[in-house]
């Protein structure tokens, strides 16, 4: 059991794209903490002091803005597609493994790897915030925040996984999924901006149907009216006006389940043709 899942970890880690993105995220996190700590501006320091016990949340939330979704895309886009590109899918399917087990363990491998990488980021955030800004408070909120962020990564993880399975091309899957992410964020921010300046909530309602709405807003919504709201506001440039947590959860469930089901159906029903070198 779980041989495919463990294999999937090795496959993803062997990809330079995944390693580079993980390193960038770690460096980015480290850089932000050092920048705040070493900030020469007196006024910035005055602003930071009251937030010092809560700065662990900065590192926990930072990847959520964009990087963790790119990391999810990077891991999942090649998960199935590379097996076709390299012809290695034959190696697995000609063994006592059902197609359902193969596709599910591949998915589980991608998701669990993302979870582990994010866990390292959270640990790094806790260490850095404690070392640089002293004892941290309100850590009781950490599990909720951690799971909401991991839950929200499912959308683009599954979109990239499905595109990779259906098109069987990893680069194409990475490009298309990345485009959907960026385009959806831009359109969503524009709609929220228009909604704010026109006082017409219909624009924001439209943005709520985009795939990024739930996946990028949910963790920030959970921090609404908490001691972290200032940090959340700082990271979320154009926050959603509505604070509908249930709708955000439904959005994540729908946008993550549809691609996952499509990829499973596609893999179960489609022939695996011979790799042509």
């Amino acid at each position: 059991m779980f041989e495919i899942m463990l294999y999937e970890w090795r496959r993803a880690i062997a990809r330079k794209k995944v390693i580079v993105l993980s390193i960038i995220t770690f460096i980015f996190e480290l850089g932000i903490y050092l920048a705040i700590y070493l900030a020469p501006s007196h006024s910035l320091k005055t602003l930071i002091i009251p937030l010092s016990p809560y700065l662990w949340a900065l590192g926990v939330l930072l990847p959520q803005v964009l990087l963790i979704h790119f990391l999810a895309i990077s891991i999942a886009s090649g998960s199935m597609a590379e097996e076709y590109e390299q012809g290695t899918v034959d190696y697995f399917i000609s063994k006592p493994i059902t197609r359902l087990r193969f596709v599910m363990e591949k998915w589980l491998g991608s998701f669990s790897l993302l979870l582990i990488i994010y866990l390292f980021m959270v640990v790094l955030a806790l260490i850095l915030s404690s070392l640089l800004f002293g004892v941290q408070s309100e850590l009781i909120l950490l599990p909720e925040l951690f799971f909401s962020i991991i839950f929200s990564t499912l959308v683009f993880l599954n979109i990239a996984f499905a595109i990779g399975e259906i098109l069987r091309r990893s680069n194409l899957s990475f490009t298309i999924s990345g485009f959907i992410l960026i385009a959806s964020i831009i359109v969503s921010d524009v709609l929220v901006f228009v909604s704010v300046i026109t006082h017409n909530s219909n624009y924001e309602t439209i943005s709520e149907y985009l795939p990024t709405w739930g996946s990028t807003e949910l963790p920030f919504m959970l921090l609404h009216n908490s001691p972290f709201s200032a940090i959340a506001r700082g990271l979320n440039i154009l926050p959603s006006i509505s604070n509908n947590v249930s709708l955000a959860i439904v959005s994540i469930v729908v946008y993550s389940l549809i691609p996952l089901v499509l990829s499973i159906i596609n893999f179960l029903g489609r022939d695996i043709s011979k790799k042509v070198s």
Binding site: S94, P96, K275
Partner: protein
């Protein structure tokens, strides 16, 4: 062990397999021959559940492989061009395979020794030559002593010495271990020496099935090689015999084509004519029979 019944497979409008049926019995060595694109690999891929047939049925060890994948514990497979995860070493590929098939890890050492790859087993697959990858593929197929071997061009890219070793192994597996083997190959010498039966496939259809001798008989007729120091006398003795279709002088031997299988009469007639026969055997020129078969179909 393997039963393929009336398989039809189409790629769009193109028929890749047209009502193909074959059977591989226990301990039998069956070769699938035919030109490139004939449908051999498609049939193998259907047996391995990589592709689904549009019509027909497949049974392996009495089970439908699409419904019961557990039977694959007993199946070894050599891919035409083996593709392994490039970041794994040869040993890791075999260990992963052993785990998935529920085979003891000690088997990895045994098969590595057999293919003489112990010294390279810890290098990544990406650094292997084509022949080394093929050796790993053969090693992988032998893990856990399978009762069925499916081999798609097993000798592709390997050197003649190891090729000979593989042939000896396949012979042993068939005779001593009662392993059922289905092999596709363009190496007709291997096919001739190993096969109990041949299936020739052309444009998706089985155009011949039978033994090597049957194939030669069907497409070349019966050809007998007569070795003697008295070539002229032998030629003279064979003139006018009604069952002799033709006689060809091949230097120090005669190739005698017969209308029907009357080898015993031929030998008797030669001996009674005073020809000292040093060698007398049926000409198993599978290559020529194959070429003739291709021309005929």
């Amino acid at each position: 062990m393997i039963v393929v019944s009336s398989i039809v497979k189409k790629y769009g409008n193109k028929i890749a397999l047209d009502n193909v049926s074959l059977e591989v019995k226990k301990g039998e060595f069956v070769s699938l021959i035919g030109p490139n694109g004939a449908g051999k690999t498609t049939l193998i891929r259907i047996l391995l559940t990589l592709m689904k047939p549009d019509k027909g049925e497949v049974q392996i060890l009495g089970e439908n492989p699409f419904r019961n994948k557990r039977i694959f514990k007993a199946i070894g497979y050599v891919q035409e061009i083996p593709n392994y995860p490039p970041f794994l070493t040869g040993r890791q590929v075999l260990e992963l395979s052993a785990k998935i098939r529920g085979v003891d890890k000690s088997e990895v050492k045994r098969v590595l020794e057999f293919v003489e790859m112990e010294n390279y087993a810890n290098s990544p697959i990406i650094k292997y030559s084509k022949g080394m990858v093929q050796r790993i593929a053969i090693a992988e197929s032998l893990l856990g002593n399978p009762s069925i071997l499916i081999m798609d061009e097993p000798n592709m890219g390997i050197d003649p010495i190891f090729s000979l070793k593989t042939r000896e192994l396949l012979n042993k597996l068939k005779r001593k271990d009662n392993v059922s083997i289905l092999m596709t190959s363009h190496e007709l010498e291997d096919v001739k020496k190993l096969s109990d039966r041949i299936f020739m496939i052309y444009k998706g259809k089985i155009v011949f099935s039978g033994t090597v001798e049957d194939m030669i008989k069907e497409f070349l007729g019966i050809q007998v090689i007569v070795e003697t120091d008295e070539i002229e006398n032998a030629e003279e003795a064979l003139k006018g015999i009604e069952y002799v279709k033709g006689v060809f002088n091949d230097g120090n031997r005669l190739i005698v084509k017969l209308n029907e299988d009357r080898r015993e009469d031929l030998l008797r007639d030669l001996v009674t004519s005073g020809v000292k026969v040093k060698g007398f055997y049926i000409d198993l020129n599978l290559e020529e029979a194959y070429m003739r078969a291709l021309r005929n179909v």
